[in-house]
């Protein structure tokens, strides 16, 4: 493989050259470290079935956001209903119950008073 080049080494020099670093060896921990790195990359050993931490964290964050949005939406709808209900009642009382009476006049006579009250709120 080596080219026959100029300025060659003598056989003695070549032998000394080949000995450079020959007595050096890595620490024994390197083997474990390397195998650990290979396992982490899924190149060695069985692949663990557990999901990666990042996926779990993302799913948890998404669940929290969806839950919070749901709570806020429900709360705001409840508030609006409460406000509209309270407003209608106050308007009705300010008009001396006229509005309620008018609606009640349009309602079928078979309905109860509580049903009439609900109609007053929505119309």
């Amino acid at each position: 493989m080596t080219d026959h080049s100029f300025d060659e080494w003598t056989p003695e020099e070549r032998a000394r050259l080949a000995d450079v670093g020959r007595h050096r060896s890595p620490r024994s921990e390197l083997k474990g470290r390397t195998m650990h790195a290979l396992r982490e990359r899924g190149l060695l050993g069985t692949v663990p079935l557990r999901r990666p931490r990042r996926q779990v964290a993302f799913a948890l964050a998404a669940a929290i956001v969806i839950f919070a949005v749901g709570v806020l939406a429900g709360y705001s709808v409840g508030l609006r209903r409460h406000a509209e209900g309270g407003g209608a009642e106050s308007i009705a009382s300010a008009n001396g119950g006229g509005l309620a009476r008018e609606v009640r006049l349009d309602s079928p006579s078979t309905q109860s008073s509580s049903t009439n009250a609900r109609h007053v709120i929505w119309f």
Binding site: M1, T2, D3, S5, F6, D7, W9, E13, R14, R16, L17, A18, D19, V20, G21, R22, R24, S25, P26, R27, L30, K31, R33, T34, M35, A37, L38, R41, L43, L44, G45, T46
Partner: protein
């Protein structure tokens, strides 16, 4: 029975502590590729790490920690690209070439690998105290050292060195000539000194 299954069974036989003939690199590589066998990898590691470490150690200038990092990275690259090993070349040579490549990348990243075709050997490089061969090689500038180690110790051709270092074969020859001159001067001061 598929060859891969056979390999894994043979590897299991090693664990049974029965003295078995050493498995070929082909069998071990097949077991790592297909079964991700840790036992097979451990056998490959034990067989080929020492020489690859020496290659890395020479190229990075004798820093053992850096050489260990190089070897680890070389194994990561080798195992993730085992498909590229044809089986026709010797696995050890293929792996050492990867280790050499990683070592050169490491030296280059540190900005230490200067390969200038026109650069001449400075007088300071020659006028130093007597050294043994190892110290003389390790004290070379990284560019000279890379060419000398790859050519004279690892057996790469100038074309292969040029490919790895991004230089021409002619530049590689020139660098080798100068590197040898510096080493000789350090081994026997006064003989090769320039006027």
């Amino acid at each position: 029975m598929t060859p891969a299954r056979l390999n894994v069974r043979m590897i299991d036989a090693i664990d049974a502590s029965a003295p078995a003939p050493p498995l070929t690199d082909e069998a071990l590589v097949a077991a790592v590729r297909q079964e991700r066998s840790e036992t097979a990898f451990a056998a490959l590691y034990d067989r080929h790490t020492p020489r690859a470490f020496q290659t890395a150690w020479r190229l990075v200038g004798g820093n053992p920690h850096e050489a260990e990092d190089v070897v680890q990275e070389a194994w990561l690259r080798a195992v993730s690209t085992l498909d590229r090993w044809s089986g026709q070349s010797e696995f050890g040579a293929w792996f050492r070439a990867i280790a050499a490549h990683v070592a050169i990348d490491a030296v280059r990243k540190q900005g230490r690998l200067v390969l200038d075709a026109d650069a001449d050997v400075a007088i300071d490089e020659l006028s130093v105290e007597w050294m043994d061969m190892e110290s003389a090689i390790l004290s070379l500038a990284p560019g000279y050292r890379a060419v000398l180690v790859l050519h004279d110790i690892e057996g790469f051709t100038h074309e292969e060195i040029g490919e790895r270092l991004g230089i021409t074969a002619g530049t590689s020859k020139g660098q080798l000539f100068k590197a040898r001159r510096v080493v000789r001067a350090r081994l026997a001061p006064g003989i090769e000194r320039r006027s």
